[in-house]
Amino acid sequence: MIWSSASEFWSMGGYGVYVWGSMGVSAALMALEVMLTRWGRQQALDAVCEAMEAQTLDAEAVRDPVASSSGTTRQTTFNPGAVT
């Protein structure tokens, strides 16, 4: 071991602010990037669900224009077979 005490390690020979300022900010920003990427994944899944809902509504409107424009609430379920 090259350090004789914990305080010697953290002080980095008087350069602690510079060394830990470099390592700390790098670690923090990379952690932030990981969190943002995880959040982006949820956003992407939301976007796909919204696209699917829009497609289902379009398909309903084509099949049954009267019902879909009359404002009655109907259960819309996703049916992949109907989309293709």
């Binding site: 900010v25 790098s26 699917m52 497609q55 992949p80």
Partner: protein
């Protein structure tokens, strides 16, 4: 051909999903090993004392900031020549990580410059060309997010990535071409390294860790980009994670 097979987002999506967790685990292991060697094994520097330890993060992020831009240029050339759909998505996925690492290069460099040169910043060729690299990343991100149409956006971005790549060799050779305050290369292709092997080991372990981190996060990010870009495609809508997310949304 296998390569062109994976150039289709539909085939690349599951591949990226298998790769990124493995790369993330490897990156973490290498970072821990690199930090151990750099902070627990390597001795202090004869000239710089303990301040030199900034090298274990400064050099890896600086190298990767340059390499990621070259990777973006590489994908862009593929996109412009072969018109592959994945190219624009991969270029896009790499940009935020490249921008982050370019910023960290400047940040850690400033914190190293202060105790060693007496200043956080100087308009020196190496520092200035690195700042330009950060602006190229930010410019790429701003341009591609400003253009709605994905194809036009990809092409405009690809041009920025290819033209801007000229800056990378300028950064790399700046310390030879101009008389700068920044020191010369610690490790070069032509000479044996001018540093103790234990320090070099720590630096290379950290570089490999940052490299794998960048690869992992770009592959993770490209999966989200693929989902959004292909959200109208049946293969996306039938993915188990999409179905699960849909059920979750319906429940709340």
């Amino acid at each position: 051909m296998k390569l062109f097979h994976y150039a289709a987002p539909q085939h690349f999506y599951p591949l990226a999903g298998r790769l990124w967790p493995a790369l993330a685990v490897l990156a973490t292991a290498l970072a821990l090993a690199g930090l151990w060697v750099g902070f627990m094994v390597a001795p202090s520097d004869a000239q710089q004392g303990q301040a030199y330890r900034i090298i274990y993060i400064h050099v890896p992020v600086s190298w990767l900031a340059m390499i990621i831009y070259l990777a973006m240029a590489f994908w862009s050339v593929l996109g412009l020549v072969f018109n592959t759909r994945l190219s624009g998505l991969m270029t896009r996925a790499l940009a935020p990580t490249g921008a982050l690492l370019a910023f960290l290069s400047l940040w850690t460099g400033a914190l190293w410059g202060k105790p060693m040169w007496g200043t956080y910043w100087v308009w020196d060729a190496r520092l200035t060309s690195m700042l330009i690299l950060l602006f190229l990343y930010l410019g790429y991100i701003a341009l591609t997010s400003a253009i709605e149409d994905p194809r036009r956006s990809d092409r405009a971005g690809a041009l920025v990535a290819v033209v801007g790549a000229v800056n990378v060799p300028i950064i790399y050779f700046s310390v030879q071409w101009w008389n700068t305050l920044h020191q010369g290369a610690s490790v070069s292709f032509t000479q044996s390294p001018r540093m103790a092997s234990v320090m070099l080991t720590g630096m290379l372990l950290m570089s490999l860790a940052v490299w794998l981190y960048a690869a992992a996060i770009a592959l993770w990010r490209v999966r989200s980009l693929i989902l959004v870009r292909e959200s109208h495609a049946l293969w996306v809508q039938l993915l188990p994670e999409v179905q699960a997310h849909r059920t979750l949304r319906g429940a709340t």
